[in-house]
Symmetry: C2
C-alpha cells in the first residue's frame, strides 16, 4: 500500500486519577483465573504507586529493571518464566517509561508467538496477536504508548517488533503519575518528544496527518519548556498530551538525524534513548538550525546537564560499530536528508560527528 | 467510571489517493462470499467516484438519499432489505458526509442487533458488535468519522446510538474526495467543526486531551477560512484533519448552545446539521462573543449565504416542540452554561432566540 493503514490503540482513557479506574477497566479482560501481570518500573519499588496496583487472585507484580533498555533476552526470559509459572495469562500491564511499556508489549507478543523475540525484530514479522496488553506511562515523551513498535536490543541489532499486533489494547493516561519524575529524567524524555517533532516536521516524509499532530506536540513542548518559568500540574497534563500527539505524528513521518546517531550510542554504550537524543541534538546545528537553537535555550533555562565527551577514548573498531548501526537506519536518514542521503552523510562525516559527542 | 474510556477507530489511513487502496483494505475483511455493501451519497450518482468503488462478487452499491438526515425507519428498512437479500454480509462501507457515515454505522449495528434502531437511541444500549464497517468522508467537518455515535431521527427524538460498538473499524481519509463539494455545503460542514471547537473549548467539561485536539482543529479552520484567500488542495488536506481532530476532541468535551438549539430546528424543520448550526451561531454573541465575531468574518470573507427568518410563521406549538427537543439536550447545556443552566436558559429566553433565527 502507498499509504500506511495505521493501527490505533483500541481504548484511551485520559484524566488525573484515571489510574484508579484500572481495576474496573481490566475486569472484562480477565480470562477465568488466568492472572494479569503488572510490569512496574523498578523506580517505584517501595513507593506508593506499587500499593495501588489492583491485584486480584493469582495476579503478579514484577518490578522491571530498566537500568538498560529492554533486550530480546530479557523479553524471552520473562515470557518463559510466565509460561512456566501460569501456562497462560490474561494480560500484561506495563507501568513506567518507554522501556517498561515496550517490554510489556514485547512480552505480550511472546506469550503467543513461538521462538525468540529476536526473530521478530523488523517490520510485520509478528503474525499472531499477543495476550491483552495495556500501557500506563509514568514518564511523558517517548510516544511508546501509541507506537506500533517495541524497541529491543537484540544479538545483532537494536530494532523494534514493528507490527499491527504491537499497539496496546488500552492506554491509561493519568498525568498524576508523572509528578514525581526526577527533573533531569523528565527533561530528557520530554526532549525525546520535542526532537521527534523537529525531525518529523522537517523531514521529507511528512503529510498533513502527521503534521497536525507534530505541530501540536511541538507547541505543547514549547509552552512547557520555553514559555513557563516553573513546573506545575498543567505541565504534566500538557506533556502527557505532547507525548501522545508526538507518537501519533510518527504514523506518516519518521525521525531523523538525532535518532539515527543516537541509536549507535545506545547500541555500543547503552546510552538511554532520551539522554542519547539530547547528547546528539546538541551538535546538529547544521541539520536543524532553529530546533537546535531552541533546544539549547530550553537546556539552559531548565538548568539541565547534557553529558559531553562520551565518545572520547573509543577505538576505531568501536566507532565503526556505531557508524554501522547508525547507517543501517536508512528510513531515518532518507527522511532527514532525502533520497541521496548517502552522498551527504558519509562514514567520515558521521565519525566526525560521533567524535564531537 | 469518572473518566470515559474512549473507544478509538481501529484503523486509519490518510493520504491523497488512499481511496485507491480500498480493495486491498477490504480483502481480509471479506467473509466467504458474503458481500460488502457500499452506501454512497446520492450526490455521486453518475459521477466518477461511483465507478471507482471496488465491487467484487455479490457486492452491492446503494446510493443513499440523504436529502434528509438519517431516520431510524430508513436504517431499519435498509438492514431488513440486506438481511432479506443476503442473509449475512461482510460489511458496510459509508462513503459521503456525516449522514451517510452515520447511516452506515447504524445499518452495521442493525445487521446483528434485534428490533428497531429506535430501541438503541441513547447511551450504551447496543450490546452486540455490528458487522465490519468503514467510513470514507467526502465532506470534512462533521467528525462522524471518529465519533462513537450515529445521530438518528427517531419516532420521538433525534439521538444517537452512542456505544463502544458504534465507531468504525476503518476510516479512509482521502482529501481528494472532497474536492468537488459545493462551496456553500463545504462551508456549512466546515463550520460544524469550527463551532464544535468553540463550544467545546469554552465549555465546562474540557480537559487537556480534548483541549489539545480542539485547539488544533480550531487553528486548522482558521488557517483555511480566516487566513487564506482562495481554496486549494492544501485546504482540503487541512480541513480533513480539522474534522478528525474536532471529532476526537469530543472524547472529553461536549458541544454547546449552537448544537442544542440547532437540534430543535433539525427535529421540527428537518434543517440539516451543518447549516442549522450556522443559522444559530449567527445569533450567539451573548454566549460566544469572539467565536461569533470570527464566524461572521468567515461568512463574509467566503461569500456565504446564511438563511434568515426560518422560524417566522411558526405556531406556538411548533416553538414548544423545538424548545422541548433543545431543552432535552442536558449535557450540552450543562457544558455551555454550567450546572445551573436551567436558571440561565429559560424557555422564554430560548423562544426569543428561536424567533430571531
Amino acid at each position: 500500500m502507498s499509504f500506511r493503514n495505521f493501527k490505533m490503540v483500541s481504548y484511551v482513557v485520559y484524566g488525573r486519577g484515571s489510574f484508579n479506574q484500572l481495576d474496573e477497566i481490566l475486569a472484562p479482560q480477565r480470562k477465568g483465573d488466568a492472572p494479569m501481570v503488572f510490569l512496574l518500573d523498578h523506580f517505584f519499588e517501595g513507593k506508593p504507586l506499587a500499593g495501588r496496583i489492583p491485584l486480584r487472585g493469582k495476579d503478579k507484580l514484577i518490578f522491571a529493571d530498566v537500568t538498560y533498555e529492554p533486550k530480546t533476552t530479557q523479553v524471552d526470559a520473562l515470557a518463559a518464566q510466565l509460561k512456566e509459572e501460569f501456562g497462560t495469562i490474561s494480560g500484561v500491564i506495563g507501568i513506567g517509561g518507554g522501556s517498561v511499556m515496550d517490554l510489556a508489549k514485547a512480552v505480550s507478543l511472546m506469550m503467543t508467538n513461538p521462538g525468540s523475540s529476536a526473530d521478530y525484530q523488523g517490520w510485520d514479522l509478528v503474525k499472531v496477536p499477543g495476550v491483552y496488553k495495556a500501557g500506563i506511562p509514568t514518564l511523558s515523551g517517548t510516544g511508546a504508548e501509541v507506537s506500533r513498535t517495541t524497541v529491543l536490543t537484540g544479538p545483532t541489532r537494536k530494532l523494534g517488533m514493528n507490527s499491527d499486533f504491537t499497539p496496546f489494547d488500552q492506554i491509561v493516561l493519568d498525568p498524576e503519575l508523572t509528578k514525581d519524575a526526577p527533573a533531569n529524567q523528565r527533561f530528557y524524555t520530554g526532549m525525546d518528544c520535542y526532537i521527534h517533532c523537529i525531525e518529523s516536521l522537517q523531514g521529507t516524509y511528512i503529510n498533513e496527518f502527521s503534521k497536525s499532530y507534530g505541530e501540536k506536540a511541538l507547541q505543547l513542548c514549547q509552552e512547557i519548556y520555553v514559555h513557563r518559568n516553573s513546573w506545575d500540574e498543567e505541565c504534566d497534563d500538557k506533556l502527557m498530551m505532547a507525548s501522545y500527539a508526538g507518537g501519533m505524528s510518527i504514523a506518516y513521518s519518521q525521525v531523523g538525524v538525532a535518532h539515527a546517531v543516537s541509536y549507535g550510542l545506545s547500541y555500543l554504550l547503552g546510552t538511554k534513548h532520551g539522554i542519547g537524543n539530547c547528547i546528539v541534538m546538541n551538535h546538529l546545528e547544521e541539520y536543524y538550525p532553529e530546533g537546535v537553537k531552541e533546544f539549547k535555550f530550553m537546556v539552559e533555562k531548565n538548568n539541565i546537564d547534557i553529558p559531553k565527551g562520551i565518545c572520547s577514548g573509543l577505538t576505531d573498531e568501536q566507532f565503526d560499530t556505531m557508524i554501522n548501526v547508525s547507517m543501517g537506519m536508512k528510513p531515518l536518514w532518507e527522511n532527514a536528508l532525502g533520497k541521496n542521503w548517502e552522498q551527504i552523510m558519509t562514514r567520515e562525516k558521521l565519525r566526525t560527528l560521533y567524535e564531537k559527542l
